[in-house]
Amino acid sequence: MKKTNPPKIAEYVLFFFLRYEDSEHRLGDYKESFEYISAESNYWKAARWYWLQVLLSIPHYILNIFYWGGSMLANYIKIALRNLYNTKLYAILNILGLGIAIALGIVGYVNYEFSQSYDSFHENNEHIYSINHFKIRNNRQVNWSYVPMPMAEQVKNKVPGIKNISRMSIGRGSVKYGDNVFNELFQFVDKDFFEIFTFPIIKGKKDAIEQKDGVIITEEIAEKYFGDENPIGKQLLLSPDGESNYLFTVQGIINTPPKNSSINLDVIISMERVKEIRNFDPETWDRWSRATFIKVDPKASAKDIEQRLQEFKQITNEANPDFLVERFYLLPLRQISFETSNLNGDPFTSGMHPAAIISPSLMSLFVLLLACFNFINTAIAFASKRLKEIGIRKVLGGVRSQLVWQFLTENIILCFLALVLGILLAQVFVPAYDSLWPYTDFSINYFENLGLVGFLIGLLLFTAIVAGGYPAFYISKFNAVNIFAGKQKFGGTNPLIRVLLVFQFAISMTSLIGGIILYQNSEYINKLDHGFNKDQILVLPIRGENDFDLLKSTLNNPDVISIAGSYSLVGSRWNNEDIEIDNQKMRMAFFDIGENYFETLDFNLLDGRSFNTELQTDIKNTIIVNETFVKEAGWKSPVGKYIRRVNSEESVEYQIIGVTKDYHYNSVWRKIQPAAFTFGNKENYRYASIKFEVEKTKEMSEYVQNEWKKIFPNIPYNGFYQSIILEEAARITNSIKLVFIYISIMVMITTCLGLFALVSLNIARRSKEISIRKILGASLANISSLISKEFVIILLISSILAMVMAYFLVDLLFSSIWAYYVDINVVPFVIAALLMIVLALLSVSSQLLSVGKTNPVDKLRAE
């Protein structure tokens, strides 16, 4: 048979764009012409013509919709607002749930945005690179930010395509103005530094860096020393080592670098002064610049420049036979924040921890999706309440497209109310989240973040279209007569709702389990035995033997239990070096400690003895290793054996005199590696650790501070508690815990609200059935099981799903953040499941109770 009908899809497309009242005869017009062409030539030509007609006509029809649409839209909105008003409770619950989720989504986005924004405030950021190098050690690539001091000048002269170059050397020391004495970092930079970076001088001379006896300070520093006075022209006394003094005039003020700056600035001095102040010759190739920045010509290729840098490898390696450069490379400025943890030399403030970027983004996306699911669920369930309304609309000539528009308008209005609420809530959430982390400084600017606005509007439109579109398209198929005869059943729970519910429960339970495990973990880390005494130790930075002796003789107080000296400090300062045992290479952390340190911090000796101050041989030649080392070396009785340190200037052999229990010297972020104590000389002491009675914490701190001021009037007091070094881990862990717990509470509330709405609709739909059952003597328990059976099954499936998901996700998350964390046990799973069941039952039973109270006769008499 000859095909005579126009292409179905094209007809459908056309139908969508036609007004219903016109659609029939207009489709007829199209078809008549189609048949004519089909008869004249052939079917395929006609089909082609049909498609072209349809597609090219669409713009005309869209214009026509606008021409006619205005009056209908007003009607849709009117009806939508009436409907929302009639169902206030559900509307409010939905807006609230979605609004909170949107606010969390904004937080996640802002957090992500901030993590990606490091150093973007420099005008030429895409043309700025830092020159670094890497070496190969034990077949592993090790990156360093160091570049030989004299190389910069030569690079600028010889390598084409480089516009500016500046080195940066960092020193520290005290700065004095009147009575204000503080320790500061000094940044020595070349004068091109301010050509490369956008750190505008807001007060003082633009060429301040060219003044050899001038310094440039940040606003923060200026405030600290001068308060309200005008800092320009004031004189600061700099003392890098506590003995020599240099007088500088403040010549310029810059804005304090924002928190998303990789480069930290405090007191900026011309590089020309580095020779006298830091006491080294910047012309020799064995002196390193901490960081070296270049700004390249936009037309130049970074690859070519990198290639040319290799020319300097030979001269560098000849001057530094122990510190061989494998290759120089360029690191783009915007990449620095992601690379800081892989870069030695420590010139930059580190970027955000990957876990702090990923987990909030993922969580907020989860919550947002969940709220959307919830919204769709309730919207679909709601549509079932309106079957009669739909029936009447159909009888009165309402058509499908009108129904679709009606539902869409209602849901779009709800979504946009939620968006407004979300934006308002974000104004509270974002600063609250910001205050949890030390390294962030968030701001929300919707006008600059068009991506965020687009994402949110897109997501909401999607939610509104699914939530409104599903019931609209589905219900509009129903026959009006069937609706009134009660034959047509819809709503309550259908497969889509069931699947969405399972996901919703699973996600909320996963986050609940995560929250509980994080809570346990935070407790675990707070109570973790670090393997030494961290709670009653006050640490004072000192400069060698004299200071130590002076302190020791001054601090004559019965509350002072002991005073120890050391070069290294557990938790913050040590050297990682290569060692050799049995012809096998290994890395080991060396702690150079002095008298009393071992005893003062209470390290646990498992075998052998600790250092003996009396024995000269103990200095330089003995070592106390940790358990991990013994395990890795595979030795049964390590005491008395020898190890060789190969990495320092001269290779030294040590005899093992003792073994300690493992101690967490690098907080809980990293695994404990082989570590050891060596006994160092008194003149190298950099820290004095004072042990005191726990009850006297406050008095001790004041007492030590007073004594310090008496004996070192020119050196700022910088004492700190040993526990502070370890507190960062506890604080970040605590922040992660808080975030998760808040989120899981939000998620739980949203889910329960959704369940509440669903159950109440289910009951409403089946009110006649329930009434009849009651009349026939069904007890409340019978009815409860009738209503809740379905939800119990859904809850069970999602619990199982959630437990599996939570088990893997939590493990993944934890192992990416912590090296030491609480063992995952069964308790959180049980608690989460119980809590979820109780909450679900509460939301179901609150509805069932109202069923119990109503008189069945009233319900049945309703019609």
Partner: protein, 106 residues
């Protein structure tokens, strides 16, 4: 008089010419003949709707015919106002072109 757009004017003329047999397909044919290029249905319906709204054109349904897959036709005819508008239009046209035809022939 409510001013007509060019396409509205052409369609108005086409409906008048068709004298009671004006519906989508025929209108499109006549308009295409008059102007010498093929018109989209969409380009006809939109001005038709506007003319209906301005009450220059009235529409009524014919009986369903088998040739159109059982679909009815929507016929269009001019109202008195529509006819007046057309007359007025013709006068304006004549005024506009007065004395120009000779030059055009040269």
């Amino acid at each position: 008089m409510k001013l007509l757009s060019r396409s509205e004017e052409i369609i108005l003329i086409a409906i008048w010419k068709l004298k009671g047999n004006a519906y989508g397909v025929t209108i499109r044919e006549v308009v295409s003949q008059l102007t010498g290029h093929d018109w989209l249905f969409g380009a006809i319906y939109v001005p038709l709707d506007k003319l209906t709204r301005k009450e220059y054109v009235r529409k009524f349904m014919s009986k369903p015919t088998s040739s159109r897959g059982g679909r009815s036709k929507c016929m269009y005819e001019l109202t008195t106002e529509g006819k007046n508008a057309l007359k007025e239009m013709k006068e304006i046209q004549a005024n506009l072109w007065e004395g120009i035809s000779d030059i055009a022939l040269d």
